[in-house]
């Protein structure tokens, strides 16, 4: 393990920012820490990099406990959301800055700087000053500076959040390539689940200072352990339901019944459950369609170019978003909605997952 975070906790005064956070990173892995604002991501980054001493728990790098070590004694490269390039140094000088403390022979600095500027496609801006770079170039220079001293761990704290979407998508690909080429163990912190899922081998989903889930994107998406994880990792509409039968598992939703794949453990018949429907697991049918589980009225059709998002208001007033690729129905039309049982995730009233076996 390159990084081990073990029972990390932190309080600001009486406010708890981190609560018993534990996870690890294997060498060369790219793991994303994903969570909404205020979930403790930044505190976690500060504790791992050594800019904050946590009130509980340990941080280990390559197996060594570094919890009490100052940042300069940890080989952690750090890139923040805001640029921290030094305005009084050129791009080349910025990249070379971290080489001195590593005891790298000054004669070699030039070659190393060239190598890392090449890596981020910035070789021609070596003598520029940071304020002469575009936003995307600044990000790349920052990556080169963090990577040049060959840190054990690269921590990227919302590195793309301040950028436009187009640039964000482009740099996302760049980061994947750079990580692939250098093989550096990387912790990517973000609030953007799409970004996290696209980049990461594994996700650490955080919620309210605690770890809500750890695992590969697909497993967490398909079998989320909590409703929070389910709704945070992809669009979904929640509908209340009750258990109608247990073998096979049937749910009563909005007056209709829905058969789910066999589940390992299920609550008793009559228990309330929370059902989350993914837009792509729903399809519009003609009203009165025998196979469709739900019915309602079309309230809005958003044309996304490649597909339509159709908002259907069910008879009990819930707005359900349905993805559709073909010609959408008209607003005001009565429709039925068929549910792909495989895409439904259900939880007990207490938030325990009802595992589709």
């Amino acid at each position: 393990m390159m990084l081990n975070v073990d029972g990390l906790g932190h309080r600001y005064g009486t406010e708890r920012a981190l609560d018993d956070v534990s996870f690890g990173l294997d060498t060369g892995e790219l793991v994303a820490v994903l969570g909404p604002s205020g979930c403790g991501k930044t505190t976690l980054v500060q504790a791992i990099a050594g800019h904050l001493t946590p009130t509980a728990g340990r941080v280990r790098l390559r197996g060594h406990d570094v919890t009490g070590q100052p940042p300069e004694r940890r080989a952690v490269g750090l890139v923040f959301q805001q640029s921290t390039l030094y305005p009084h140094m050129t791009v080349g000088e910025n990249v070379a800055y971290g080489l001195g403390p590593q005891g790298v022979d000054p004669d070699e600095h030039e070659a190393i700087v060239d190598e890392y500027l090449d890596l981020v496609n910035l070789a021609d801006r070596r003598t520029a000053y940071p304020n002469e770079l575009s936003g995307g170039q600044q990000r790349r220079a920052e990556l080169a500076r963090a990577l040049a001293p060959q840190p054990d761990l690269l921590v990227l704290d919302e590195p793309l959040s301040a950028l436009d979407r187009a640039l964000r998508v482009q740099l996302r690909g760049e980061i994947a390539r750079i990580q692939r080429e250098t093989g550096v163990t990387t912790l990517f912190v973000t609030h953007d689940q799409q970004e996290a899922m696209e980049l990461a081998d594994r996700l650490v989903v955080m919620h309210g200072g605690a770890v809500a889930a750890v695992g590969p994107p697909r497993r967490l998406y398909e079998s989320p352990p909590t409703p929070f994880v389910a709704s945070f990792l992809g669009r979904s509409t929640e509908l209340p339901a009750t258990i109608a039968a247990t073998e096979p598992l049937r749910l009563a939703v909005g007056g209709d019944e829905l058969t789910l794949p066999d589940a390992g453990r299920t609550p008793p018949v009559g228990a309330s459950v929370r059902c989350l429907f993914r837009p792509h697991g729903l399809s519009i049918r003609p009203p009165e369609d025998a196979d469709a589980e739900l019915s309602g009225t079309v309230r809005r059709v958003a044309d996304l170019g490649r597909r339509y998002d159709v908002t259907v208001e069910t008879d009990d007033g819930t707005a359900l978003v349905v993805e559709r690729r073909r010609e959408p129905p008209a607003v005001g039309e009565a429709v039925a909605v068929a549910v792909d049982a495989g895409s439904v995730v259900a939880f007990t009233a207490a938030g325990e997952p009802i595992d589709a076996a």
């Binding site: 932190h10 600001y12 205020g38 403790g40 505190t43 800019h51 904050l52 001493t53």
Partner: protein, 272 residues
């Protein structure tokens, strides 16, 4: 973001590397504190009230409490609009205007006094014309006000400008788009939001005006304000003779600092 911001402060809360600069700075703080402490200790053993009720002292206090508020009012009425223009508008020659605003701050008070004398002294066209209609511009309370305003006005301009500058202009734009004209917007949005800074600036200007000595000595040695009276008493009776009046001035200063701290604006304004 709120958590993030506190993260830095929390991280700083145990930074041993700040001990050395803290020790260096502590020496300077000690040098600031020592005279205050010695002064207060010495004052404790002096008959204050008796000396403060002497006619000269009474008159000086009256003059100071009359002129300093007038100077502050003039500086505020003319300085706050100027501050707003400087915060919101760029125009050719702006640097010159900024230089002019800063100049009285860095010109030595005695030179400032000399300058005022060359402009409105008794033997200048302006000064003699005013004196001939019964408004002496030097050696009068008007002269005191002229000296105080010249020296102290930059404080309220600079502080108010900082306050206006800190207001996101879009708050004013939103008010305009909600149907308010420039004047209503200034009254409803800009002024309330800059109130703390303006108050802090007025307090600084008032303090500077109260303590004004160098320029006042040149422009209006008479009638006496507290600082000039202190000087006269010092010449005549040494340090012990001036402690009561100095304490009176210091007391007013303490009030000022307390007001600044309570408004909670000065550190912010100064900090950013």
């Amino acid at each position: 973001m709120s958590l993030a911001r506190r993260a830095w402060a929390g991280g700083a809360a145990r930074r041993p590397e700040l001990l050395v600069p803290a020790a260096l700075g502590g020496l300077l703080l000690l040098y600031f504190a020592l005279p205050f402490a010695a002064f207060l200790a010495r004052v404790g053993s002096t008959p204050i009230l008796a000396q403060l009720s002497a006619p000269g002292a009474q008159q000086a206090i009256r003059h100071s409490l009359l002129t300093a508020p007038v100077s502050t009012a003039i500086a505020t009425i003319f300085g706050v609009p100027l501050a707003y223009v400087l915060a919101r508008q760029s125009f050719p020659g702006k640097r010159l205007v900024e230089g002019l605003v800063v100049l009285p701050l860095v010109v030595p008070p005695v030179v400032g006094g000399a300058m005022i004398l060359t402009a409105v002294g008794r033997f200048t066209p302006l000064g003699s014309a005013a004196a001939s209609v019964g408004i002496p511009l030097t050696g009068s309370l008007i002269g005191v006000v002229l000296a105080q305003t010249f020296v102290a006005a930059p404080f309220v301009i600079i502080t108010a400008r900082a306050g206006f500058g800190a207001i996101d202009e879009r708050l004013e734009q939103a008010s305009r788009s909600l149907g308010y004209g420039p004047l209503s917007t200034f009254r409803n949005v800009s002024l309330p939001l800059a109130r703390g800074s303006i108050a802090a600036g007025m307090v600084l200007t008032f303090a500077r005006a109260m303590g004004e000595f160098g320029a006042t000595m040149m422009v209006a040695y008479n009638p006496r304000t507290i600082p000039t009276q202190i000087w006269v008493d010092f010449i005549g009776g040494g340090i012990d003779a001036i402690l009561p009046l100095a304490l009176a001035l210091f007391g007013l200063t303490l009030l000022v600092v307390a007001a600044i701290q309570r408004l909670g604006r000065l550190p912010t304004v100064v900090e950013r």
